[in-house]
């Protein structure tokens, strides 16, 4: 079965990123597929590569990046939500005249259409938020 996962909150502030990550891993270990993970609202903050969590605590961004690298999971960050919150890839940096970019490996920035596409293509959509 194909799953779509939506994450509405940023890392650490709310448990939703952790819950979504654990759920995503369980989807894969049960032998199902993840069609896409879509980051919306503050969820886009999961995609910055500039976090330095305490050494003895989990590194959420790295876990997302690992999920993308190990399993080819499509991690999509909403462009409008990202622009509001300062999550920037090289392309957005150039377009918007910023002096830096911070998108972590494994993530890509794209439009809300990707969320709708996931709703259409996946067989189950689960939302994690606050």
């Amino acid at each position: 079965m194909k799953f779509g996962i939506v994450i509405n909150e940023g890392p650490y502030q709310h448990q939703s990123s952790d819950s979504a990550l654990q759920f995503a891993k369980a989807v894969l270990s049960c032998g199902h597929e993840i069609q896409r993970i879509f980051f919306y609202h503050d969820g886009v903050n999961n995609a910055t590569r500039l976090t330095t969590p305490p050494q003895d605590d989990r590194h959420l961004q790295q876990q997302w990046t690992q999920l993308a690298q190990d399993h080819g999971v499509d991690l999509v960050v909403c462009v409008a939500a990202a622009q509001r919150r300062g999550i920037v890839d090289v392309d957005q940096m150039k377009r918007n005249g910023k002096d830096a970019h911070n998108l972590a490996p494994g993530f890509r920035i794209s439009g809300l259409g990707q969320l709708i596409e996931t709703a259409i293509e996946a067989e189950r959509l689960i939302v994690f938020g606050d």
Partner: protein, 98 residues
């Protein structure tokens, strides 16, 4: 055409569980996750959900909050994340009461 209703906030913090119970159709399923697991210890708050359908509770969240030394309200089943996935597969859609 059954719905899996997930609730993630404590019933003492937000009215999401109450809204879920009000709207859920008989025969559907509730899964308590994150802070909503506290509802699994309250007969008063969770009974209306048990009267309407099945109630599950995500065990890792239950254990994390120090509830492991007592049983949830009778009728509530603890599941792990793979159980969560199985519930999502068995139902036709998931409604997240945030």
């Amino acid at each position: 055409m059954r719905t899996l209703h997930t609730v993630n906030k404590s019933p003492f913090e937000k009215s999401s569980l109450a809204s879920c119970i009000r709207v859920m159709q008989p025969g559907s399923t509730v899964l308590l996750i994150e802070d909503a697991v506290f509802a699994a210890q309250s007969e008063t708050l969770i009974r209306p959900a048990l009267d309407k359908g099945q109630v599950y509770c995500l065990e890792p969240d239950y254990m994390a909050r120090g509830l492991g030394s007592s049983q949830p309200v009778a009728g509530i089943q603890l599941v792990d994340y793979e159980g969560f996935v199985a519930l999502a597969v068995e139902h036709d859609r998931v409604q997240s009461w945030l």
